[in-house]
Symmetry: C2
Subunit: 212 residues, 2 copies
């Protein structure tokens, strides 16, 4: 069996997708159709998972009282984070827009079921964290598929994860991996906002690579 | 600023890439050029990272004594894992080829530097695990870019991670995220081997999705 061969033109577009995929915090009000959303979630399940354990659990949060509770969680933790910075960093941090929770048409919480029986534990004996890593792979797959449809995703990690689990009432054995906003982005850019605003520069591969 | 628009043809190819990306455990002996390898590592750094912290640390393991130590680590842990299974599962497990450590032309260990100063802790206060998640995103980016060049990647998690850190002598604050084999795959398939061999079936999105 021989798989598809990808050509130089595809690779250029793929690299362009990587370059233009952003963490999006400002969304237009346009809705995402249910059909598109289900397509993206289906594509996400093409991600690799350890032992084929498929430990991803997706929760679409549509109820506005639940959404408001998540926003309140974010506001509280973002204020606490701001108080950790001083001087110029504090001023810069206060100016950053770090979530699109207010306006994003789609809220998606993603969990890992670390106790799932699927895969019979294969590959997860000495490094059980690989189940969580599999969920990250599904999120990234969804993220790229979304951007290829012109849809942005924003990862909100400035949250108390335990409170999110309580707010959403998910099974106790599920662990929050991330909370995500999806929608059409208000702007596009090929440079991360934190780099453009002088928070953190991009570094060179030489600084990350060791050869033994 | 307006980014690239991706068309239906690109999306079909992208989904085909997701569908044909495999965890590869059987490699041909063909080498990967240094130029290609550096291209893939560079592309990996286009991945998102929390606070733009870029906490990925890549170690190419070329020394054969180090590689042999990693293989020995795998053999020991794989034998221990086998002993956890009984009856039919044990027979199936024993027949699986779970790593290409013997023949893969490239060994790549990937670590997270959880103490890196880059990003000034932004987004990692309540969920510090997002730094590790950022490294997973870079690995997946490399994985997809590799497959788009016809190169396979295999994730080896059946290892004692602490012993890998000692073997490779990396800084104590680095934590092993994964150990990877890269090379041209001996075969291609659009269905995971664990599904084809009856270890674990693919499940449907309905089993993973909750709407609140």
């Amino acid at each position: 069996m021989t798989g598809p061969q990808f050509d130089e033109k595809f690779r250029e577009q793929l690299y362009s997708l990587f370059q233009w995929r952003r963490d999006v915090r400002s969304f237009r009000s346009d809705l995402i159709s249910t059909e598109t959303l289900l397509e993206l979630l289906n594509v996400a399940t093409l991600a690799p998972s350890v032992g084929n354990s498929q430990p991803w659990r997706f929760v679409l949060v549509e109820d506005d009282r639940l959404r408001e509770s998540v926003r309140e969680n974010f506001r509280r933790e973002n204020q606490a984070a701001l108080e950790d910075y001083e001087n110029e960093d504090a001023q810069k941090y206060a100016r950053l827009k770090l979530s699109g929770l207010e306006e994003a048409p789609v809220h998606l919480a993603v969990f890992v079921d670390e106790c799932s029986k699927e895969g019979k534990g294969l590959g997860a004996r000495t490094m059980p964290e690989v189940k969580t890593y599999s969920v990250i792979l599904s999120i990234h797959t969804l993220w790229l598929a979304a951007r290829a449809r012109g849809i942005g995703l924003g990862w909100v990690s400035i949250l108390d994860p335990q409170k999110i689990q309580e707010t959403l009432g998910v099974p106790a054995r599920w662990k929050l991996v991330g909370y995500f906003c999806l929608g059409y982005p208000a702007e596009e850019n090929d440079v991360p906002e934190l780099e453009r605003l002088g928070w953190q520069d991009r570094k060179c591969i030489d600084e990350f690579l060791t050869i033994l």
